[in-house]
Amino acid sequence: MEVILLKELNLERFWEDEEKAHTNNCFNDEAQIALGIRMSDECVFDELQEPGTPWMPIERERRIELNKRYNDKAERIVGKRLLQENFLPLEAQLPYVKRIGEVFGGQYIYHNETEWLTQSVHGEQELEALLDRVDKLDLRDFLLPKNWEQEKKRVFERFGLKPDLMRHIRGPVTLACSIMGAEDLLFLILDEPDLARRFSDTITKVTLGIAAIMDEEHGTTADETRGFSFADDNCCLLNPAMYELFGYPVLRDVFKVYSPGKTDKRYQHSDSAMGHLLPILGRLDLNGVNFGPTVLVPDIRKHLPNARIDGCLHPMDFMRNDREQIIAQVRRDCEDGLKYNGVNIATAGSINNGSSLNSMRLVMQVIQNYGRRKER
């Protein structure tokens, strides 16, 4: 086994350089490759050895207390407070606005302390009936609760807060897999391409519809406030021809409305082995991506010259705090970053509970050792 000796981490210098490393969407010739890791709320449990479940909502006071204690530790280990400590009181929250899965008949449920979107149709006939229903749906009436107007007014008057925009959504393939089951979706696209096209078109219409309603509620427009992002882990299940038919048109049409300018956010997260779709995604000229750990910088860059690449450290190796793997993978990504530019060192997928602050520090140390440009 190769013994790797790393120079000690100079924390102060790291954060000075880190700030500049993000300029121009990480495409720059600043001193050091950017770091995208800021850990996540779920990491508090393992790090602080506290009981609790990472994916369930928890009481505000407990959240603040855990995050503060975590940040105290983070300050000692990585030199920065990472997690949010200010959370709005319960009274500042607006009532629940329904989500896209519910428009398509699914329900968001908690099962084993994890949120799932349930399946709502079985087979093509049920899907057709569902799409008929969705076509006739008064989206605004369906999404917003009855007391919406009065609550919106109350929250704005008391806290000065407007409703959130909806500019990030579960992507078309992942949504459709939940709504009708992965295998049925694949067979649908193969056997009934016209119905699959209709399903895809409806997803586009609903996505744009929800976004427009929330724009209006917030008091903005697609022109004024730009950018959109998708989380579509399951896109890897489709082959290129099927993605071209079902997934791509949704992203293309939504970006056309919300991200017409070169620098308007066009982001896709799908932490899976979806490298075979890169040539198609390339046509969307995405400017930010977070793909799975098998999809690496040189391949992504071939098809997406303007994308900030958030990756490509395997999130499970990071979660296992596997020192050897972390060093090897971050070093690889640093070297690719120096060569291809636009790399933001992060996990290729979500950060999980168990990923330690010491591992984050190790990532920083590797960046300082291998991710620096020659001094100017």
Binding site: H111, N112, E183, F187, L190, N234, L237, M319
Partner: protein, 213 residues
């Protein structure tokens, strides 16, 4: 034989109806059932599995090939007993308790069937005792466990423990897989095999089945 080679090649491109017709044709021509199965259907599926492993084809191609294989097998099954066709062994498979993901598990199931195993699919969110009970009742040589969540992979150890508790650990092999699972984790929980992809899982299952007493 051309007909068997046609069955294999039509299966590889997922032509279920054509495969069905060709299998019927082979039966009508008195081609031995074992040959239709092994040199036609399973041969085609093993090529698809190898291509999937090498990223030459993707999930949909495996899915339609498996569908074509199943259509062909439907016609052959009534003749298995009289033709002396035996499965490579019986496997029960499921996604562990708490986890509702199924596509990975389904892919492994397809690959196992493509190797000639009889597979009992227990679905998702399966309790440890259900795996063990099924293995005992149906005389399964292998239990295959799938998990996609970091929070549910620990349920795999519960299955290993339940198998020990029921006194069948020596008689049954336990295989694990899924995105968060590694070979190191497999060792930690005392399972027998881990593979990173569905095609390798089927190959490993063959090995394990042969090693059973």
């Amino acid at each position: 034989m051309q007909l068997l080679s046609d069955i294999s090649s039509q299966l590889q491109i997922g032509k279920a109806k054509v495969v069905q017709e060709l299998v019927q044709q082979a039966l009508d021509q008195q081609v031995p059932v074992k040959d239709i199965l092994e040199q036609g259907l399973l041969h085609g599926m093993s090529i698809v599995g190898a291509k999937f492993k090498n990223n030459e084809v993707f999930v949909p191609e495996v899915l339609i090939a498996a569908r074509a294989m199943n259509k062909g097998m439907e016609l052959l099954k009534p003749y298995y007993e009289q033709s002396g066709v035996e499965s490579k062994g019986r496997v029960c498979i499921g996604t562990v308790q708490g986890d509702l993901h199924d596509i990975g598990k389904n892919l492994v199931k397809m690959m196992l069937e493509g190797k000639g195993f009889e597979v009992i699919d227990l679905g998702t969110d399966v309790a440890p005792e259900t795996f063990v009970q099924t293995a005992m009742e149906k005389d399964c040589g292998i239990i295959c466990l799938s998990a996609l969540l970091t929070t549910t992979m620990s349920a795999m150890k519960q299955v290993v423990d339940a198998a020990k508790g029921a006194g069948i650990r020596e008689k049954v092999k336990i295989m694990v897989g899924g995105a968060p699972v590694t070979d190191e984790f497999r060792k930690e929980i005392g399972a027998d095999a881990y593979t990173a992809d569905a095609a390798s899982a089927a190959e490993k299952a063959l090995e394990l089945m042969e090693s059973l007493p």
